[in-house]
Symmetry: C2
Subunit: 268 residues, 2 copies
Amino acid sequence: MDNRPIGIFDSGVGGLTVMREVMEQLPYENIIYLGDTARIPYGSKSEQTIKKYAHQCSAFLKSKNVKTIVVACNTASSVALDQLTENFDIPVIGVIEPGARSASEVTQTGRIGVIGTTATINSYAYQGKIMEYLSTAEVIGIPCPLFVPIVEEGWEYSQVAVLTAEKYLTELIEHDVDALVLGCTHYPILRHTIKRVLGPGVILVNPAFETAKDLKKLLTEKDLLNENYEKPIYEYYATDAPERLRRIGGNFLKKEIDNLHEIAIDNL
Amino acid sequence: MDNRPIGIFDSGVGGLTVMREVMEQLPYENIIYLGDTARIPYGSKSEQTIKKYAHQCSAFLKSKNVKTIVVACNTASSVALDQLTENFDIPVIGVIEPGARSASEVTQTGRIGVIGTTATINSYAYQGKIMEYLSTAEVIGIPCPLFVPIVEEGWEYSQVAVLTAEKYLTELIEHDVDALVLGCTHYPILRHTIKRVLGPGVILVNPAFETAKDLKKLLTEKDLLNENYEKPIYEYYATDAPERLRRIGGNFLKKEIDNLHEIAIDNL
């Protein structure tokens, strides 16, 4: 057993949806969350820069004595995971692979949709990984740039959200997909609206949920679970504007965020 | 007379709305446009970084032998204008001052709204400048984060745009403003929707238009107008993804974008 915390990082608040799933599935684990809010968004940065940032986030978490690192950011997962696995002597897991694997398992027809930011969809990270698991899959990627600001405004149940989802998702209905990967950490907040637009025939795959499942399996196999069955400690760090993380993040986590600190990591 | 081009820069495509006004009001001027698309958005960066970027953009334009520089970016205008004026030996003008001055002139009641990105509204740049011109003004700033992605999707005439505008602008109607500054380079594209929501009693102030007017005055006074009455040459540069500038930018400029080049400026 191992009572060191789990480290989770993202470029901003979005990764809190991953943290939420980890809290649900591993309720006795201590967790340290880092949002690199000073340098968001990662999606428009070069590969080299994203690798540097992901390294700095991981080095910060490592300095906090975490037992494992969850890369909750889609962009960093697709670009930097291999390098992090090499450079750190603790397990590192990302969100792309669990999401892609689950989509390839739940589909019946092989027609799978992926939605995400423009950067994630253009990177082809989910599409490529799904094809590795299911080479016959037909994968349709749709960038949905309005979804992040809608979620950050707290408008997930608004008519704006419904009309926007209809505009973005019509193509998926036309292609008759039967599974949809929510390929951005913000999107699980919109799942009810997305479900309403797509109808009951489409299974929504939440990479945050799948990642937490993989993490639980990993900790169990490596005998790293915390067997102190006490109320866990959650700590939060932001590289800029911690108040914004607190305000917006509460909606992602469905829980008050306290124990929140501002931190500079660009020298790590 | 002076047939050197006018240089205009912005962090992305938004400044093309400024270029459009300059093209309309100064139809014989050659123009070089630079979109620093590799490093967009400026709004979330530190002041020091924004100053560095603005300097690099200006140095690039200077190297192209421009006779004046228009800072079409709200963030760079509010943070870096003084420094640019000091460091370059050609006139440099920004968008904040012309917009603020016009708002203070057109208002009857002194109740003025300003809309912009979260960064612009929180910087208080327009609000502060308006108060300099009209110390009795009551200025209400509203951040409208969904407007930029709506414009970039080309959804400016959609129901999503109308509903979003209603959500953002209700507070301005309640405060009974009689003038509204469109404090983001993207927003002029949405002016019909904004007008429809606010009704005929509110005058929309477009800083792009006011800036072009000020530029014309400046060039006239300093005897810098191009008196070659020929078809002008327009050149476009982007620091990343020029195709995106071409695709989205056409809607801003109401004109095809050709003569477009990708350029690295981070060593300037």
